[in-house]
Symmetry: C2
C-alpha cells in the first residue's frame, strides 16, 4: 500500500500479507452501519432482558460468521437501578419544607424513540439512598485541588452540606469520593455547557446537531473500585458459589446520595446561590454567577436543597459473549479483542460504535476462515457486559481466567466506542505496540474526504504530531476507565485501544457532548459523526490489523526498544518533578539514581534482545517460541503482585493510574502518589521514606523486567 513497514520483527508475515489485505478489504462501511443500526434500536442496560437478547443475537451471528466456538459466560454481580415507583430527583424546598422546584425526572425522548420503554432516567449508579437536605456549596469540578482551594483559601467547610460540581476533568466517582472525604452529605453533578457544548463551529443540540440539549444529563456509576470488579467479590469471579461480602463491606460504594442533572436544571439550582464570588477558573458557561455558597442568596436564604434518591443495589446476572478462533500452531497463545455491549440507553456511540466494529471484524475473520485461513495463535472476541457499572463483565472474566491469561495472553485490544470526534485517529497503548501501530496505519487509507490516496498514518500525523521531540503521530499512554483495566493494569497484558477523536487543541469539552445521555442514538453517528461510516471502517481496520498481526506473525510484533525509550523518559519526568523539592531531597537523602540506572540497564538488555531477534532461526519453532515468550512476558514483568499501596488490583508499576487526579496520566504512579502526599503531609520524614520506598520498587521492577530480556540461560 502506502509505505514499507519499519518494524524489525516484520520479516514475519511471509505469506500472510495477502490474508491481511483480504481481511481489511472485507471490512465494509455499510456492514458496520447495519450492525450499529441493529444493536441500537432498543435500550440495553446491563442486567436487562434486552441486553441478554442482544447477547444471544451476537452469539448466534458470531457462530454464523464461522467462529470455532462461541459461549455465553454469566456472572452475578452487584448492579444498581433507580426505583421504578419512587423516582430520583432534587428539590428546592422552602422554609416549610415544600418542594418549590423539582428537577426533571427524565430526559425529553428524542424523535423516533417516543414509544420506547425501559429508558432508564439519568441517575448515578450505586448512589446511596437518602433524602439529605441542606445548603448547596459549588466546588467547580470537585477535584482534590478544588476542595483544597475551597477549604484552605475560601475557608469553607462542606460538612453537612450538599455539594454541586460540574462534570468533567476527572472521573465522576472521584468527585464523589472527594465530596465524601470533605464531609458532604450529598453531591449533585451537572453538565456545564463550558464542558459539554461544542463551540467554534455552529453545532445545534440533538437532533439537529450533536450538542447536548439542556434537558440531557450524564448517567454513570460513581464507584471507586480501583480495578476490583464486582464490589462484592473482589479478586474472584462472581459465580453462583462465590462468597459475597455484605453491602457495607463492598468495594468502592459511596456512602452519600449522588445525582446527575442537565444544565437546564442546573441553572435553577445555581441561579440564586449566595456566598463568595468564584475565581474565574471556576466559572462555567451558564448565565449564573457561580457563587460558592453555602446556600442561597438574600431572598432565598431560607430555601434548602433536598435530594430524593431511592436507587437500589441488586445482585444481577450479566452475560459476556466469548468467541474463539483456535490458533493453528500455538492454540495456547491468546490475542483478545474485547469491548462492551451494555449501554446506558441506546449506546449509539458508547459502546455500540465499538461493538459494531468488533462485529464486522468477526464477520471478516469468518470469511477468511471459510477460505482455509487460520491464525497461528488463538483469537478471542469478547462482548463484555456491565462495563458501565464498573468494568464488571470484563473484570469478572479476567478473574475467572486469570491463570490462563497470565500464562497465555499475548495482547488485549480494547473495543469501546470507536468514535468520539470527527478529526483524526487516537491511539492509546503500551510502548511495545507503538511500532506496530505506525506500521499498520501506513497500510490503511485515510477515511477523510479529500484524502484519497493518503494513508491513515499521514492523515493522523498531519493532524496530531507527537511533540517537538518526536516527529510521528501522537500515541498516548493507556489510562483507565474501560475494559482493558483488568488485562493491562492487573494482569500485565500488552494492551491498546484505537478510536476516532476530536481535535483536542480546539475542542475543549470533555468527551463528546451527548456522552451517556439518551441522545446517543444510531442517528447521531449516521448523521453527524460518520455519515459514510468510513471513519468507523478505518478504526475497524486498525483494531483488526492489530489483532491480525499479533495472532499471525511468526515473531510477535512487539518492540522492546520503544519500551526502553519510554521508561527512560518517564524516569526523567518524575525526577524532574521531584526537583521542586530539591532541599528536602537532600535532607532526606532521596535519589532517583537507582531508577535511572535501572532504565539504563533495561535499555542495554532491550538492545541485546533486539539484536538477537535478527538472528533467530525461523525454521526452529522452539527457538521462535522462546523469543516470543520473552516478548509476551515483558509486559507481565511490570506487575507487582503486592499492588500499589491500598490498591491490590492496581498492579502495573509503570501504568496504573495515580490515586490523585493531579497526576493522572503520569507513569510510575506509586512515586507520584507518594510525592503528592509530600505536598500535603505533616510528617515529611515519613512521607519521604515512602517516596524512597516507591523509587526502590520502581527500580527493582525495571531491573526485573530487564532480566526477562536477557538470554534465558
Amino acid at each position: 500500500w502506502f509505505a514499507k513497514p519499519t518494524h524489525p520483527n516484520s520479516a514475519n508475515n511471509s505469506g500472510s500479507n495477502k490474508h491481511l489485505t483480504e481481511f481489511l478489504d472485507e471490512m465494509r462501511s455499510d456492514q458496520i452501519r447495519e450492525h450499529l443500526r441493529k444493536f441500537t434500536r432498543l435500550p440495553h442496560l446491563a442486567g436487562t432482558e434486552q441486553n441478554l437478547k442482544y447477547a444471544e443475537q451476537i452469539k448466534k451471528e458470531w457462530q454464523e460468521f464461522g467462529l470455532d466456538s462461541v459461549e455465553m459466560v454469566p456472572y452475578d454481580v452487584l448492579l444498581s437501578y433507580p426505583n421504578k415507583t419512587q423516582p430520583n430527583y432534587i428539590s428546592i424546598v422552602d422554609h416549610l419544607g415544600n418542594e418549590v422546584f423539582n428537577t426533571s425526572l427524565a430526559e425529553p425522548v428524542p424523535e423516533g424513540y417516543e414509544g420506547v420503554s425501559n429508558i432508564v432516567p439519568p441517575y448515578s449508579a450505586f448512589s446511596a439512598k437518602g433524602q439529605p437536605e441542606g445548603d448547596l456549596v459549588y466546588v467547580n469540578y470537585g477535584r482534590t485541588e478544588d476542595f483544597f482551594q475551597l477549604e484552605r483559601e475560601m475557608k469553607i467547610n462542606v460538612t453537612g452540606k450538599i455539594v454541586i460540581v460540574r462534570y468533567g476533568k476527572i472521573f465522576r466517582g472521584n468527585k464523589v469520593k472527594n465530596a465524601m472525604l470533605a464531609g458532604a452529605k450529598g453531591i449533585i453533578m451537572f453538565s456545564d455547557p463550558a464542558d459539554y457544548w461544542a463551540t467554534g463551529v455552529q453545532v445545534d443540540p440533538y437532533p439537529d446537531g450533536w450538542n447536548l440539549p439542556g434537558g440531557g444529563a450524564q448517567r454513570g456509576n460513581v464507584l471507586n473500585l480501583n480495578g476490583a470488579g464486582d464490589p462484592l467479590t473482589p479478586g474472584y469471579p462472581a459465580k453462583e458459589y462465590t462468597y459475597r461480602f455484605d453491602l457495607v463491606e463492598g468495594v468502592g460504594l459511596p456512602k452519600i446520595p449522588v445525582h446527575p442533572i442537565g444544565f437546564h436544571d442546573a441553572i435553577r439550582l445555581l441561579e440564586n446561590m449566595g456566598g463568595q464570588i468564584p475565581p474565574n477558573s471556576w466559572k462555567g458557561a451558564l448565565n449564573v454567577s457561580y457563587r460558592i455558597g453555602p446556600g442561597f442568596t438574600d431572598d432565598f436564604k431560607s430555601q434548602k436543597v433536598r435530594m430524593n434518591i431511592h436507587t437500589n443495589n441488586q445482585v444481577t446476572r450479566i452475560y459476556n459473549v466469548i468467541g474463539r478462533i483456535r490458533g493453528s500452531l500455538e492454540p495456547d497463545r491468546y490475542v483478545i479483542l474485547g469491548g462492551h455491549r451494555d449501554a446506558w440507553v441506546f449506546g449509539g456511540i458508547d459502546p455500540m460504535s465499538g461493538a459494531a466494529v468488533v462485529h464486522e471484524t468477526v464477520r471478516s475473520a469468518g470469511r477468511l476462515l471459510s477460505k482455509g485461513w487460520r491464525p497461528r495463535r488463538t483469537i478471542i472476541f469478547a462482548s463484555w457486559d456491565a462495563e458501565e457499572f464498573g468494568l464488571l463483565g470484563s473484570t469478572e472474566w479476567a478473574e475467572d481466567n486469570a491463570k490462563l491469561l497470565q500464562e497465555r495472553a499475548v495482547a488485549y485490544i480494547n473495543a469501546d466506542s470507536a468514535i468520539e470526534g470527527m478529526y483524526t485517529l487516537r491511539v492509546d497503548c503500551t510502548p511495545s505496540l507503538h511500532t506496530l501501530v505506525y506500521d499498520i496505519t501506513k497500510q490503511i487509507a485515510s477515511p477523510e474526504e479529500g484524502e484519497e490516496g493518503v494513508s491513515l498514518y499521514e492523515s493522523w500525523h498531519k493532524r496530531d504530531n507527537w511533540t517537538n521531540d518526536r516527529n510521528a503521530p501522537r500515541i498516548s499512554k493507556l489510562g483507565s476507565g474501560s475494559d482493558f483495566e483488568a488485562y493491562f493494569i492487573r494482569l500485565g497484558i500488552a494492551s491498546g485501544r484505537a478510536r476516532y477523536t476530536k481535535n483536542k487543541k480546539t475542542e475543549k469539552y470533555s468527551s463528546y457532548p451527548v456522552y451517556h445521555s439518551v441522545y446517543e442514538t444510531f442517528e447521531i453517528v449516521d448523521k453527524f459523526y460518520d455519515a459514510s461510516f468510513k471513519r468507523l471502517r478505518a478504526v475497524a481496520q486498525v483494531r483488526g490489523a492489530l489483532i491480525f498481526h499479533l495472532a499471525c506473525s511468526e515473531l510477535l510484533p512487539l518492540d522492546v526498544m520503544e519500551y526502553a525509550d519510554s521508561l527512560r523518559k518517564y524516569a526523567q519526568s518524575i525526577a524532574q518533578l521531584a526537583q521542586r523539592h530539591q532541599d528536602e531531597m537532600e535532607t532526606y537523602m532521596v535519589s532517583f539514581d537507582s531508577l535511572f540506572s535501572a532504565g539504563e540497564n533495561f535499555t542495554v538488555a532491550a538492545k541485546g534482545f533486539h539484536e538477537r531477534l535478527q538472528t533467530v532461526n525461523r525454521a526452529d519453532s522452539l527457538q521462535l517460541r522462546v523469543m516470543n515468550d520473552q516478548l509476551m512476558y515483558l509486559e507481565r514483568a511490570f506487575i507487582d503482585p503486592l499492588g500499589l499501596p491500598g490498591r491490590p488490583f492496581y498492579r502495573h508499576v509503570i501504568f496504573a493510574p495515580s490515586s490523585h487526579n493531579k497526576y493522572a496520566g503520569e507513569s510510575f504512579p506509586g512515586i507520584y502518589d507518594a510525592l503528592f502526599d509530600i505536598e500535603n503531609s505533616a510528617d515529611p520524614e515519613k512521607s519521604w521514606d515512602e517516596v524512597k520506598r516507591q523509587i526502590s520498587i520502581a527500580a527493582f521492577t525495571v531491573h526485573a523486567a530487564a532480566m526477562t530480556l536477557t538470554p534465558p540461560a
Copy 2:
C-alpha cells in the same frame, strides 16, 4: 534395573536412559564423604568470612566440574548475632538480685575441634535484647493448645512472667509468638530428653554416640516470617538500593528476649519450681516434677529468673552461589536443585550432608557434560546462604527472579540435610511428583546392608507403607521451614525433597538429637549416621534422578491424576473435620459442595489431559511444548496472588502451612484457619462467614486449576 517405570509420560526417555544410568553411577560414596569432610572443618555461620570462603570454593569447584556458568549473588539482609563482649545467659537471682546460678555460656567443644574459633554459642537469632526478671511458668511445648490449657484450665496468666517451654512439636518461632500473645516478657526453650534423646537402642551422647549431651543446646531463629524472607525488605530482594523498613516495622521480629538451653541447665531452672502439678502429657524425661509455677517453691520463693540477652540485629551481606547448565532445546525452562550452605556451627548434618550431595550431583553432571551430554532444559544449582536466619538467601533470590521463575521454572528440588536417621527414605513432595518418585526409586539400589539387589523402592516400601488404603511407600506433603518455601508456597513451582530418615514409629524424638548443636560434625555422619556413605549416595541418586528426568524428559514427568486424587482426599478430610460442627453448619448454611464439585471437575479435566498426553506427536516440538506448559503451570494454578488472610507471601491455596500448629500438615490452610477460629470465637456468624469465604476461594482455585488442563482453545 529393578522394575519397569510405570509413569505414563515415560516413553520419554528414549536415548537418555543410558545417560541417566551414567549420571547415577558416577555418584560415589567416597566423593560425597570427601565433600562433606571439606566443608565441615570450620564453623560457617551465615554472614561470616568462612561462609564466604566456602561459597568461593564451591563456585570454583563447580566451575572446574564443568558447569556453563557459576556466579555469586549477594544480598544484604538482616541477621542476628550474640554480642561478643556481653554473653547471653540466664540467671537465678536471689532476693538481693545476686545471680546465684547462671546457665552455661557455651557448649563443651567436641573433641578434635578444641582450637576452633568462631563457634557461636547457643542463642535465639533475632531475640529482642533485654534483661527481664520474673517468675517462671512452664508451658509444655508452648503450643497454642498448651497456652489455652494453661489459661483456661489451670487459670494461670503469664503476663509479666518468663515462660519456659520444651523444644519440639512445632517451630520455635511459633512458641515465641504464642508466649508474646500470652503476655510473657521472656521465653526460655530447652531440649528435653523426652524429645532429644534416642531410646530403644542404647545410644551414647556424642562423641560416643549420636545423642545430645546435656551441655548441648539447639540454636535457631525465632522469627515469624510467614515466607517474607529478609524482615526488612518483604516482597523485594535485599539489594544495595532496596528500601529497608526500620527494625520496628520488620516482619516477624519477636518483641521479647528468647534463649535456648540444654537439659543440664534446664534441670537447674526447673527443679525448684512450684505451683500446680502438671498433666502427664506435660511431663518430659528430666528428673524434675515439671510443676507449672508461677515461680519457685517454698524455700526458693524469693528467687527469680533473669534473662540476660544482648543479641544484635545487623544488616549483613550474604552470598548465594548459582550454577547453571544451559538447556539445549528449552534453555528457558528451569529445573532447580537448591540447598543451603550456611550452618549454625559445622553443619555436619544440617546442611552439609545435603550440600555434599549437591556437590556430587554437580560433579557427576559435569562429567556427563564433558562427554557431550546436555539436558533439554536448563538446570540451576543453588548453594543458598542464611537459611538458618529465615530462608533468607533462597527467598531473596526468588524475589529477585520472581518473574523468570514464575514463567520458566519447571520444578524445584530442595537439598537441605540429606540424612536425619538411619532407617529409610523420606520424601515430601507435590502430588504431581509422586509417580516420578516411585519410578526412580525402583531404579536405585537400597543402601542398606543385607539388601543387595533390592531396590530403594522395595526397601522403603517395606519400612514405611503409605496407609491401609494405599499400598506404596509413604510420601508426605511438603511442609515449611526449608528453602523450598518461596518456590513452592509463594511461587507455585512443583517441589519436592528427599532424605534418609528415622523410623518414626519407634523414634519419637523431634528431628535428630544433636540438631543445631555444636555436635553436628563430620564425624557424627562418618561414625554413626552413614559410615559407608551409601545412604547419602542413595539420597544423591534420588535427588539427581529427579532433576535429570525433569530436565531431560521430552514430556514433563508430572502426573496430574495424582493431583486429582490428592485434591479429592483433602476435600473429604476437611469436610469431615467440619462435620464436628454439623448443627452450626446447618444454621449458617455452610456447605462443602462447591469444593467437592470443583474436585470432580478437576478429576475430569485431569483424565482428559492424561488421555491427550498419550496422543501427543513427539516429533512436533510446539505440540510438546504446549502440553509441557500445561504440566508446568498446573502447580502455579494453586497460587492466589492475594495470599492467605494476613499472610501475603503464603499463597498456595492447597499447601501453605496453616497458621495453627493444631492443623499443621493439613491441606486447604485457609479453611482450616477459619475453622480454628470457629472453635475459639465469640462471633460464630462472622467466623462461619469466613469459613464460607475460604471454601469459596478453595473451590474457585481448584476450578481454575482444572481449566488449565483443558485443551487450550
